[in-house]
């Protein structure tokens, strides 16, 4: 099977700093992926390697089965929108779109014009005179209108307000339904995008901490709360992410499957089972101490 993006054993060192370590991921065609990770997790480095802007220290990348380095055919499949901006500072919005239109084979000018109107972006303003939010809007317009088979948004909405972000999500999903393609969304705002994502990859300190279908992941992450002894006995042997005690009660976050029988047994013991939001799961996985499977006494 030809994957849209395939990373094999990618590692990247900047001097003595290891930015990425042995990354192995396979991204399928026409899916929306979330690349999640804290600051410095290696998201931008990985995306720069995928787009052949940075060389890996070891490993290889394939774009639809071809290596992207100095490969015009492979690079034509890609469009990347970066948080740090991707435009020439003295060029105005109209010209920036004009330049972009000549680089992307599937460029949709009508979509670009429509988004320009929806974002109320002045096409005569030069890039250096745009606010942070406006720069993000321009990047979003280019990313969506490029209709590139692999479109990458690396923290695309820095400075955008909630309404602007919602406009982006709506436009993204609407366009994706019309023209499916592989979209990689690198972000911190996990709660906002969790419903958009089909698969998620969580990077932490340069390694893949978790990868899989977002629904499957959500279906494996639970809070179990109730009387302490009862909770402890039920979660014994499960992969515990976090635990909090409140007097005689306890709330435990687990990342493991719960069978129907186990669920009924928990309910019979008056335990409350609720799902862990993706953002909270992300925090547990990347923010704090990870408690190993069955290790409740740590």
């Amino acid at each position: 099977m030809k994957y849209a993006v395939e990373c094999r054993n990618i590692s990247k060192n900047f001097g003595r700093t290891t930015a990425l370590s042995d990354i192995n991921i396979k991204l399928e065609k026409d899916k929306i992926y979330g690349l999640l990770g804290r600051n410095g997790a290696g998201k931008s480095t990985l995306l720069n390697i995928v787009t052949a802007q940075v060389f890996p220290s070891s490993g290889e990348v394939k774009i639809f089965g071809e290596t992207p380095y100095e490969n015009d055919r492979a690079l034509r499949h890609l469009c990347i929108v970066k948080e740090s901006g991707m435009f020439l500072k003295d060029v105005n919005v109209g010209d920036a779109l004009d330049i972009a239109s000549s680089f992307y084979d599937n460029w949709d000018n009508n979509l670009a014009e429509r988004l320009l109107r929806e974002f109320e972006l002045d096409r005569r303003k030069t890039y250096k005179n745009l606010s942070l939010g406006m720069r993000s809007q321009l990047g979003i317009i280019v990313g969506l209108a490029s209709r590139a088979p692999i479109t990458i948004f690396d923290e695309p909405y820095i400075g955008l307000d909630a309404a602007g972000r919602q406009l982006f999500y709506d436009a993204l999903i609407e366009d994706y339904m019309e023209k499916p393609r592989t979209i990689i969304l690198s972000t911190h705002l996990i709660d906002e995008v969790s419903n958009l994502l089909e698969d998620v990859i969580i990077l932490h300190k340069g390694t893949v901490k978790l990868e899989g279908n977002s629904e499957d992941i959500k279906n494996k992450a639970f809070y179990i709360s109730g009387i302490k002894d009862s909770v402890e006995s039920h979660v014994s042997g499960k992969k515990v992410l976090n635990k909090e005690e409140f007097g005689k009660t306890m709330a435990v976050a687990i990342f493991d499957s719960i069978s129907e029988k186990e669920r009924k047994a928990m309910e019979a013991d008056d335990l409350i089972i609720s799902s862990v939001p993706l953002q909270q799961l992300f925090i547990f996985l990347t923010g704090g101490k990870m408690i190993k499977r069955g290790d409740m006494n740590e």
Binding site: F14, S44, T45, N48, T51, A52, Q53, V54, F55, E70, N71, D72, L75, R76, L78, C79, I80, K82, M86, F87, L88, D90, V91, D95, D98, I99, A100, S102, F103
Partner: protein, 237 residues
């Protein structure tokens, strides 16, 4: 090929405003020069007033080569262009820019020469380069400006590419090395002979062919260093 076309389009859009500003200033200076010349003559000054826009044109080409490389390489890589296509497009941009600068420079000088002649200044008084006002002379001027600007632009693109890839300290190191080399007996004299040759060429005392071949060889030599540097350049963090 159409990627290189897109690349050139980007350069056109990116450079047009600075070109307009630059040439507006040049024309303003030209008008000011004429007014000063008229004023000087009205005050009885009969010496030579030398006017040349060539240094400004060459400096524009140099800055353009230096700044544009550093600004556009990461941008172009972001737009999905290969490094090879970037260098091909950039060499073409250098050439086209040098040609455009030379053509405008020549017509500015031609306009000035005509105006000074019309106002009664002799060529000897002004030190203008146009004497015959023939088509041949116009082409000669365009060509001489072009090959000098092309070589200078290529050289500063090389400086820009070394700066991008290796950083400022590396450039300082090269500068220090060149200064050391200049102390080797005969090297400084050789460099001055080359500079003398260029000046003699500009004043019309040396042949075009030698200078053209010299300029092209220099251009290719610069790009033979720029190319491997660009092929291994990465987008900075």
């Amino acid at each position: 090929m159409n990627r290189i076309k897109s690349h050139l389009k980007m350069h056109y859009i990116n450079t047009k405003m600075s070109l307009i500003i630059f040439w507006s200033i040049m024309f303003a200076i030209s008008v000011l020069g004429i007014l000063i010349a008229l004023y000087a003559r009205s005050r009885g000054y009969n010496g030579t007033i030398t006017i040349s826009h060539m240094p400004a044109v060459v400096i524009f080409g140099a800055i353009s080569g230096l700044v544009s490389y550093n600004e556009t390489l990461p941008y172009m890589l972001n737009m999905g262009i290969t490094r090879k296509n970037f260098i091909l497009g950039y060499a073409l941009y250098n050439t086209v820019l040098s040609l455009i600068l030379s053509v405008i420079f020549t017509f500015l000088t031609l306009w000035e020469s005509l105006l000074y002649n019309l106002l009664g200044f002799s060529n000897q008084q002004i030190g203008q380069i146009f004497t015959a006002f023939s088509i041949g002379e116009i082409f000669d001027r365009i060509w001489s400006c072009f090959i000098i600007t092309l070589a200078v632009t290529a050289f500063f693109t090389l400086v820009g590419s070394i700066y991008y890839k290796k950083g400022i300290m590396y450039l300082f190191g090269i500068g220090a090395l060149i200064m050391l080399v200049m102390f080797i007996p005969g090297v400084a004299a050789g460099v001055f002979r080359v500079l003398e040759y260029i000046i003699l060429y500009l004043t019309g005392d040396k042949g075009y062919l030698t200078m053209t071949l010299f300029s092209l060889a220099f251009f290719l030599a610069c790009y033979s260093i720029i190319y491997p540097l660009a092929r291994t350049s990465q987008v900075k963090r």
